[in-house]
């Protein structure tokens, strides 16, 4: 007796690589890719410049408000708290905002490029 193995028809979904190639080749695909790159670069620059402005504002603030640097909180001078601890939450916040928006840009590209 011969055993016959029944399998599903070979309708393997198109390999992801192919759609990717297609997106690269077509002119329309390139329009989407260019717009994705532009929006990601704009996002990165906005976050970087915003962060650097805040960073630059810290020493200006300390210099502009007399007596602020010498104010003590739990015995620690305020300028030490600001530069030694206060900047880190801002770094984390910038990073979080960037990741969220970058993922959104990519999701929009996926919708446009038509493969999910």
């Amino acid at each position: 007796m011969t055993r016959v193995r029944v399998t599903a028809p070979r309708s393997v979904p198109r390999p992801a690589g192919e759609t990717r190639e297609a997106a690269e080749e077509s002119e329309v695909g390139q329009v989407f890719v260019r717009s994705l790159i532009r929006s990601q670069l704009r996002l990165a620059l906005v976050v970087a410049v915003g962060f650097m402005l805040i960073l630059g504002a810290f020493p200006v603030l300390l210099a502009a408000v007399p007596g602020l640097a010498d104010t003590r909180i739990w015995g620690i001078p305020f300028d030490w708290l600001l530069l030694g601890a206060g900047i880190y939450p801002i770094i984390g916040l910038s990073a979080w905002l960037f990741i969220r928006t970058a993922a959104r840009n990519e999701a929009r590209y996926r919708d446009l490029a038509g493969d999910k």
Binding site: P15, G17, E24, L55, P77, L83, G84, I87, G92
Partner: protein
């Protein structure tokens, strides 16, 4: 300090490193495992490993030492080291992961379709790696001298031997576990003693010897130029460090590379609170350390000095262990990435070549370290960041974001940056304390110069834009599909 404390701490850390390394050996089988852990490391592990690798002698010892010496000016160092990772996240993390390359030279060759660019990049990466290993070995020498009284070279040699053994045995996979462990060890080793010190001093009402704002030495405070130039070096230098970049290839895809970086930023932010606390405590309770020329050792000496007794010895042992974890992890990360570059470019790849290259990449800086004297650790590492920011950073940023980059432009820019920044470093070493401020902290002009030359030379050679550019740019920036099986 009791000399046995230092020796015991060193031996324990080395043995722990070797054990975790050999455990990793059992699961590293293929060439891929050796280079980049087959890209299957989870974000938390990977982030801890990146943190462990990144926090070097400069962060563990140097930052606190510099804060003790120059107060709030030195706070820009930890801020810059952390914000450098922000820049890496913004401009490099995901595209670099999507490039699918193993090393920076792999990336530049693929992007610019040129062997010549690959060779120049390899050379620059090896120089950066060696320059960065030397301060680690200086830190080890300092630690051994201060804590055990043994000759300084023993410390440097011990680090090189342990690193060679672990890297040769297990490659990147075991290094990932070793480094994840070492991040948490370093954090504990700084946090526990400093919290102990703070609570003890607050508990028995010890009065500060000097207010934090008082400068303990006659050193002139840094001007605005130095601070800005330093920040340029740290912000843009981080994203070109070879051992940091190779880590991103161990993420499964671009978005996990971003998530990993976010975790790393959190880990670094927590870590840097503690060197800052040491520096501040040193300034207020032990300013004489700055005057005796032992500022870089403040982290090692403070527990013994302010607590003393058995508790002081135990805390010192913990700090020494953490310090060695710092030297070992950064050095092994650098050795792995250098060995990857050297073995592929000179020895034709393969596991044997990788092992040989690993030994070479560790021995050369040992020679430098033993024959030179250590400057301030954080300062000499700051110069390495300036060099990276003037060479690798422009080619990465322009390669990822600008379609017009050509091989000629990339080479011209990297050579310009290397010559200007390298020249400034040599002048600084020759002139010593006489160095003018713009040479001592060169990043503010060498980085823009390298970018300008790279853009200008690329514009002049538009016909050399590689034919593969469109395809490579698409690959760098488009998200991976969930079912991707290519690569």
């Amino acid at each position: 300090m009791n000399p046995a404390v230092g020796v015991v701490a060193l031996v324990v850390v080395s043995v722990a490193t070797a054990v975790i390394g050999f455990y990793g050996l059992r699961i590293s089988r293929t060439t891929g495992d050796f280079y980049v852990a087959s890209r299957t490391v989870r974000p938390w592990w990977n982030a801890s490993a990146i943190g462990g690798e990144y926090l070097s002698a400069a962060s563990f010892l140097g930052v606190a030492g510099l804060i003790l010496l120059s107060g709030t000016d030195a706070l820009w160092f930890p801020v810059g080291y952390t914000a450098g990772y922000l820049m890496l996240l913004l401009f490099v993390a995901a595209p670099l992961r999507r490039s699918g390359a193993y090393t920076i030279p792999d990336f530049t060759e693929a992007r610019l379709d040129s062997r010549a660019v690959r060779r120049v990049t390899s050379l620059v990466v090896v120089v950066v790696g060696w320059l960065y290993i030397v301060p680690q070995l200086h830190g080890a020498a300092l630690t051994i001298r201060i804590t055990t009284g043994l000759p300084p070279w023993v410390g440097s040699a011990a680090v090189v031997i342990v690193v060679c053994l672990t890297v040769v045995a297990g490659g990147m996979r075991s290094i990932t576990f070793v480094q994840a462990f070492q991040y948490w060890l370093k954090l504990t080793a700084l946090a526990v003693p400093v919290l102990f010190i703070v609570f003890t001093l607050a508990g028995n009402g010890t009065a500060a010897v000097a207010p934090a704002a008082v400068n303990p030495t006659a050193m002139a405070p840094a001007g605005a130029y130095q601070n800005v130039s330093l920040l340029v070096a740290l912000l843009f230098g981080t994203l070109g460090l070879p051992h940091v970049l190779v880590r991103f290839y161990t993420n499964p895809d671009g978005s996990s590379a971003r998530r990993t970086t976010l975790i790393v930023l959190g880990l670094l932010s927590v870590f840097y609170l503690f060197p800052t606390a040491y520096g501040l405590a040193g300034r207020m309770f032990a300013p004489e350390l700055a005057r005796s020329g032992r500022a870089d050792a403040v982290v090692l000496l403070l527990p013994g000095q302010l607590i003393g007794g058995t508790a002081g010895d135990l805390l010192s042992a913990l700090v020494v262990a953490g310090a060695f974890a710092a030297f070992l992890s950064t050095t092994s990360g650098l050795v792995v990435s250098l060995a990857g570059v050297i073995s592929q470019d000179v020895l034709g790849g393969g596991i044997r070549g990788f092992r040989l290259a690993a030994v070479v990449s560790a021995i050369v800086p040992l020679g430098f370290a033993v024959t030179t004297d250590s400057m301030a650790l954080a300062g000499s590492v700051g110069l390495v960041f300036a060099f990276t920011a003037s060479t690798v950073c422009p080619v990465l940023l322009l390669g990822i974001w600008w379609r017009g980059l050509t091989d000629t432009g990339a080479i011209a820019g990297m050579v310009t940056g290397a010559v200007l920044c390298g020249g400034a470093m040599v002048c600084g070493a020759v002139l010593g304390a006489e160095t003018p401020f713009w040479l001592a902290q060169p990043a503010a002009w060498t980085v823009p110069a390298a970018f300008a030359v790279m853009v200008f030379a690329s514009r002049r050679t538009k016909d050399r834009i590689p034919k593969t550019m469109t395809r490579v740019m698409t690959r760098l920036h488009t998200p991976e599909r969930p079912l991707v099986t290519e690569r």
